[in-house]
Subunit: 262 residues, 2 copies
DNA sequence: CGCAGTATTGAAATTTCTCAAGCCGAGTGG
DNA sequence: CCACTCGGCTTGAGAAATTTCAATACTGCG
């Protein structure tokens, strides 16, 4: 997490973008070149700072480079509901390319770095390059799949299973993104925020957490999650990663729209 | 709801498909022709019958023609969580074009008619016709927006507000689809199913419903919802239809990808 | 060192769920 | 035509879960 030069950062932006797109479809070399040619503005965001507000009409899309972001909605009474957590490589407001006004806000959970990519450039990309369009589309579909699982998680699971499921998902996704260190990953949420994510009070979070810790399943401290007993955690959560739609195989095309020639 | 001839039904399928696509983007005349040329298989589904199961790898996508569908997930213990309700014109498993295996099931709530459209044909459409691809993409994005609102609804609102919000959404969407009769629309769910949709017990649904009825906000009987006091219901629910991303204006392009020439 | 935000814990208040019984309307079959 | 049954709705009451309130400890940052 050392400071990176502007040059290094821009390289990282391109790499993340290409890698993520390639996970969701097979790109031509020209597609990769096109992705790398996107000019973005870099920005550092403070913890709890909003990047986009509900009601905004953004003209850029966010690519997360470092740190963790969250989306949330606010109720008339001021209650906050977190909707999703995001890791580097995610484009949490990609939908704004088609949905003009934000129905939710996007904020940083810790100190985060983001790249802002103008809609004009992204529109051009998806218009001219079907492979990129389909890869981006698929990203938003996986996003939706995660929302579905969140509905089920918050609606049908017990408090401790809910928390356990979140932990499974976060460690799994962090591993997937190459961000986990062994059985440990970043999870910089307060108990209060976890409550606003899982639809339970901060105190219930504390108690559910206590149970999981007591049973030797996890540790959560200093914004880091450590899974002690993965198998037991998965069992307790009823976690099945199928909904994350990660490719099982290597780099074979996952969509009907792969390379059209060698 | 009279019986329709096969010919009439097929016309209705095309009309629904074109109308829905046109709501999400500006189509060329050739796009419309292409949409109308999709060959689909018609099928009638009994109440509670599954159309697609969790774990399936469908090779068609469903377009709902008549009736109401729902998506749901099942937990290891057998508990069911409904994720969304669908009206005619919806394509509830369009994501299966890119996400090979279903992370949820799709079932009919009442006697429903669906058109099954082969992935091969839809793939061809979106590959060759950007306007159609973008319209379909946008449909899936609105879908995701509805999921987000469901997370907030189930996680942060009181029981009666939850129910009220669902009612607002259903009447609003039914009106939008031209299916409401005044302040009345179809809602063929049992209290038990409403509970599995909103994350509350059947008895809590009954009591929340009782409250809303008592205050003269709604009636719900025989699978029909009647809103008595729309303004009060909206206020009670904290309902703001922005998340449904319905075009405010007429037929102006809503995406950056409208007609490219007169 | 001390403040501010966060975590922990206990206990009361409230909500929500479960259990249980009765009711109602639709469909069935005598 | 009526009794019967079944599924769904309604209602009450006790049990359980959850939230709220409140007081205390911990931690990181200034």
């Amino acid at each position: 997490m050392a400071e990176e030069s502007d040059f290094e950062l821009r390289k990282r932006v391109s790499d993340l973008l290409v890698a993520r797109a390639a996970e969701h479809g097979t790109l031509l070399e020209t597609d990769e070149v096109a992705l790398r040619s996107v000019r973005s503005r870099l920005r550092t965001v403070a913890p709890n700072e909003d990047i986009v507000h509900e009601g905004d009409r953004p003209d850029t899309a966010v690519l997360l480079v470092n740190g963790m972001l969250a989306r949330y909605q606010t109720l008339p009474g001021g209650e906050r509901q977190y909707l999703s957590l995001h890791l580097p490589g995610d484009m949490p407001d990609l939908q704004s390319l088609f949905l003009d006004v934000m129905d939710h806000a996007l904020c940083a959970l810790d100190r985060a770095e983001v790249a802002l990519m103008p809609h004009t450039q992204l529109s051009k990309l998806v218009l001219e390059r079907p492979a990129i369009a389909f890869a981006f589309w698929r990203m938003t579909l996986v996003d939706a799949a995660i929302f579905r699982q969140a509905i089920t998680n918050n609606g049908a699971r017990s408090h401790s299973a809910r928390l356990a499921h979140l932990f499974c998902e976060q460690l799994f996704r962090s591993k997937e993104a190459g961000l986990a260190e062994g059985r440990t990953c970043s999870l910089p949420l307060t108990q209060n925020q976890l409550g606003q994510l899982l639809g339970m009070s901060q105190i219930s979070v504390n108690r559910a957490l206590h149970k999981l810790r007591e049973q030797g399943l996890v540790e959560l401290r200093f914004g880091r999650l450590t899974v002690i007993d993965w198998a037991a955690l998965v069992a307790h959560a009823g976690f099945d990663p199928a909904y994350l739609h990660v490719a099982k195989q290597g780099v074979l095309p996952r969509t009907p729209f792969g390379k059209r020639h060698g």
